[in-house]
Amino acid sequence: MEPSFLQWLADPGLSHFLILSAILFSLGIMAVLSKRNVIMVLMGVELILNSANINFIAFSRFTDLSLDGHMIGLFVIIVAAAEAAVALAIVLNAYKRFKTINLDDISMLKG
């Protein structure tokens, strides 16, 4: 590898975190689009939310956003927890009705 690239890796800055979060976001979107299991899709959603969180924290560390970023990060964690709780309850109920958590099989409504 080129020495300049290694140097860039050794000195983490804003761009490193943004790239990391972009990768996480893409993985989340991929999970949502490709997985058929509801739980896997919900994990993809968590990845998306956490990638946004990394953005917030990185911006508040490296730019003049200061504490606002941390604040938003905390709120996002709370919202994500609430959403996951509701989602799991709904999925459990769907499992009771359909005996499956495969998204392709949970589709009786059509037209």
Partner: protein, 496 residues
């Protein structure tokens, strides 16, 4: 600091009343063991009080809680609309037979409904991106549960599963967009974002992408093409009362949020021309993009509605089409466009809630949501069928109903904005929409009922509610200038 917080509380009464209602409902649900829907009446009272406190806010203009929320004519107009929709939906819920088999959980239902009301009221009045996101999520999470409230039905279970997956993904994408927007401008307040953008010489492409991502979240809530895939399934699977609030209030709140987001964040205060707002965020051709979305929504919504048999599903596609007509006003975004959106939303509230209400009454008495089974209903329930006809005629936009005035204003605003192709599409799709609306009327009146089917009796409260919904539609077909004046005054705060 304390003074400011105390001062802010004095401007926060409508929301506080809703929060108190929510708490009282929880406690009442625990204490009172009665067969009567006490919690529903508590919520109705709370909403009425909240509506009255909103009336006292009319004409005020200020921002509170460290610029987190504002009280301005625009927010007041939307909050009144939302509370009005909430009151109607609670009245519907009190009569719904669908919810009766879940009477032990009625408290939860009204509690979640109050939570949703709170979220929607904050959505239209917040000016901070964090607050916008939280209000958005409060609305969403309550509505996910409410869609799956009749949990023994497979339809309902499926609808809520689909809703939460679409909702969580699109709000996640919106959050990512918000994070980029905040990072680039270094501000969470909409006005501060505006300042930051004005001071920049160049607008990077990533900013446009972040706004696109935020548009995904809002488009999901408005149910506009291409983010509409959840709407038909969710509307069909949810209890009718919840379908009504999703189709009316949720859409209204999201549209209010969208308008405020675009017109406060990106307005160019220096040169206020017709395209002033869009110049601030160059890079993507925003008007064409939104115009395209509106056109697609009108085409897809109206054409797909043609071959629906379930009344809720048909109204779902019709509401997608209406989202397209409403988005046409956002494309114009000048004073005319915004005022016509607000007039449209006001009339849309009555006509759409009315259509859902009649559908609910029919579902209560003959246990069907199929339009085919509506045959002969015109003779078995004349008053309700005539009311349904008027609601559907108004949704089509035929004079002398309010729907005509609403469409007329939004079309003429689009024409004066130079959007001829968009108005052409809107006009053609309106004609198409006549087919599926009139099919319901045809089924009701052009077929004789079976000999064993007698007249259906409806009680006095349901007739009263029907009349309350019916009168404004006929009235606003002739006399609508007060609403229009109010709407025009309301959008002046954006400097238009």
């Amino acid at each position: 600091m304390i003074e400011q917080a105390l001062h802010s509380i004095s401007q926060f009464y409508p929301e506080i009343v809703i929060i108190l209602t929510l708490c009282v409902i929880i406690v009442a649900d625990l204490i009172i063991k009665s067969d009567k829907p006490v919690t529903g009446w508590i919520m109705l009272g709370g909403l009425v009080i909240s509506g009255i406190t909103i009336l006292f806010q009319a004409g005020q203009n200020g921002s509170f809680f460290y610029n987190m929320v504002v009280v301005d004519p625009f927010a007041v107009f939307f909050k009144l609309l939302l509370v009005l929709a909430g009151i109607f939906v609670v009245l519907f819920s009190l009569q719904s037979k669908e919810l009766d088999s879940y009477y032990t959980r009625k408290g939860e239902y009204y509690m979640l409904l109050s939570g949703m009301m709170l979220g929607m009221m904050l959505m239209v009045s917040s000016t901070n991106l964090l607050m916008i996101y939280i209000a958005f999520e409060v609305t969403s999470i309550s509505s996910y549960v409410l869609v799956g409230f009749t949990k023994k039905e497979t339809d309902s279970a499926e609808a809520s599963t689909k809703y939460i997956i679409y909702g969580a993904v699109s709000s996640g994408i919106m959050l990512y967009g918000i994070s980029i927007l905040i990072g680039f401008t270094g501000a969470t307040d909409l006005a501060a974002i505006n300042d930051a953008l004005q001071n920049r010489a160049d607008i990077p492409m990533i900013l446009n992408i972040s706004i696109l991502m935020i548009l995904v979240g809002m488009g999901f809530k408005i149910a506009v093409v291409p983010f509409h895939f959840w709407a038909p399934d969710v509307y069909e699977g949810a209890p009718i009362t919840i379908t009504a609030i999703l189709a009316v209030a949720s859409k209204t709140a999201a549209l209010g949020l969208l308008i405020r987001f675009f017109s406060v964040s990106f307005i160019d205060s220096n040169g206020l021309t017709a395209t002033g707002i869009w110049q601030t965020i160059e890079g993507i051709h925003w008007t064409t993009l939104l115009g395209g979305m509106a056109a697609l929504a009108m085409i897809v919504g109206n054409l797909t509605a043609l071959r629906q048999d379930n009344i809720k599903r048909m109204l779902a596609y019709s509401s997608i089409a209406h989202a397209g007509y409403l988005l046409m006003g956002v494309v114009i975004l000048a004073q005319e466009g915004l005022a016509s959106i607000m007039l449209y939303l006001f009339i849309y509230l009555f006509m759409n809630l009315g259509a859902f209400y009649v559908a609910m009454l029919f579902s209560n008495s003959i246990q069907t949501e199929s339009i085919e089974k509506y045959k002969g209903l015109g003779f078995r329930a004349p008053l309700e069928s005539i009311a349904m006809t008027i609601f559907l005629v108004s949704l089509t936009g035929i004079p002398p109903t309010g729907g005509f005035v609403a469409k007329l204003y939004i079309f003429s605003a689009a024409i004066s904005g130079g959007w001829i192709w968009l108005v052409t599409i809107a006009g053609i799709t309106t004609v198409i929409s006549l087919f599926y609306y009139i099919r319901v009327v045809k089924n009701m009146f052009f077929y004789k009922p079976e000999s064993n089917e007698g007249i259906i009796q409806f009680d006095l409260p349901s007739k009263t509610i029907l009349l309350i919904l019916l009168v404004p539609i006929l009235l606003f077909g002739i006399y609508f200038s007060p609403i229009l004046e109010f709407a025009k005054n309301s959008v002046q705060i954006f400097g238009m």
